[in-house]
């Protein structure tokens, strides 16, 4: 399949997933993931050429709804559940280091 997962890859993946791992956690995670991935090598033996990937357990298509409006959720109820809100909006800390 592929080479053994490295700690460097684990740290890169943790950044993608927005999980911060301490060096100790990263080491433990690397060992655990490597163990699992080793186990998952069993499917490498299968001949999967020409096998269509299965993404949908039950084949349905063209599920559509009419363009009819329903009432909005109550803003105060929703903002009441937010960690931080201000002036009818959700508040977040400033963006540093990357951008839209």
């Amino acid at each position: 399949m592929t080479e053994k997962i490295s700690q460097e890859t684990v740290i890169k993946v943790s950044r993608l997933a927005r999980l911060s791992l301490s060096p100790e956690q990263a080491e433990k995670m690397t060992a655990q993931l490597a163990g699992m991935l080793e186990h998952f090598r069993d499917i490498d033996a299968l001949d999967l050429a020409g096998v269509e990937p299965m993404t949908q357990p039950y084949p349905i298509k063209n599920v559509l709804r009419e363009d009819v409006e329903v009432e909005s959720l109550n803003r105060e109820e929703v903002l009441g559940q937010a960690p931080a809100a201000e002036s009818g909006r959700f508040r977040v800390p400033p963006t540093i280091g990357f951008d839209v």
Partner: protein, 471 residues
Amino acid sequence: MKKLVEIVAAVGGGSLTATSVLEEHLDRIKAREGEIHAFNLVTAEQARTDAAKIDADIKAGKSAGPLAGVPIALKDNMCTRGIETTCSSKILQGWKPPYDATVVGKLRAAGAVVVGKTNLDEFAMGSSTENSAFGPTKNPLDVSRVPGGSSGGSAAAVSAGFAAASLGSDTGGSIRQPAALCGVVGVKPTYGTVSRYGLVAFASSLDQIGPFTQDVRDAATLLEVIAGHDPLDSTSIPQPAASLVSVLDHGVKGMRIGRVTDLPEGCEPDVLARLEAAFDAMRDAGATIVDVKLPSLQYCLTAYYLIAPAEASSNLARYDGVRYGNRVDAPDLNAMYAATRESGFGEEVKRRIMLGTYALSAGYFDAYYGKALKVRRLIADDFASAYAKVDAILTPTSPSVAFKFGSKTDNPLAMYLCDVFTIPTNLAGHPAMSVPFGLGADSMPVGIQVLATTLGEQSMFKVAAELERAS
């Protein structure tokens, strides 16, 4: 303990009030919940209000619903408007959804009384409820043992008589395995049968809601209420709910029941002995036992533990401390994301997010996720060949009876092996259910799993009812 159908008949017929039924269950909760911890939240006051309303309606001559007065517990990953829904995760602790899941609406409309939200492995990831951020649930039959998972709280609630029935969700066995370990009936319907709208997603292409009950008839009754097309769920099968109660007394005479000759290894002998007894019982009842091969079954665990974490890594990305749930403050956005998710998720959830993110990431997609989807197809094809020859298949639900706390927590892979018999049907999208069938080691219950093909619930329930009669 009263069965669901008995309660419906008594409350609807006026011989019992919903309130008295509720109080009986609340008394049992009061007596044992401290020890069991089946619930994250008991909604006693709301339940009393709801029960009183049902009683008043019946007194006023309004027709009683198909679940009139039935105390029901909900796995704490189904949204309930204004009632805390946590998924047993710190990241969602305190969150009160502004909407009800479709199943919750159906239950209420049918006259059920929701008694509380049950404990689970965090975000339904686990097989023992040991991954709950709020502490494990104990098996009511032996509190030194796990109730199974992830819907351990829902299974324990029915087993302990805290509720006449409960709902769980099943992604890789999360209804059937705890049902087996707690000695109750648990059903995972065909994917698309019960709406997922309002079920907090773990792995969208595998998740399905289903019932826990004391017996097969109760399960059929409850499933008939919660099944059916929902326009809010694009993957909901556009068909009305199947009639299930009507087939329970049909027997299995003439049915062909499959025995898997290449079942994965690792099943305990006490469990295998009960499986043989189940085949004997079916033969005695007039069914034919037919050998079937499912050669891809051995690859299910790999396919599942790539597909489910991949979907989960995406489904759980929304817990970012912005719109709901908990936040750990930090001076900038990315630091806030990382701090929030680091402290909000438990070890197992993080492990699966990492695994899933990795399986989807550039350079690894084809080797892992892409390949797993093809293996999934092989499994579905194997089942299709088998169901050309048989109407249903019997396997163990779990490789062993309920195990002791802590016995598998150090080795994630050992825990994953608990699901080896239940995972295949989730991958195929088929229905399966666990029926208690005698006792195994240490006098703990053993569950036999009945499998059927897509929308084969009627065959499945016929076999399950026969098993129950023979147990």
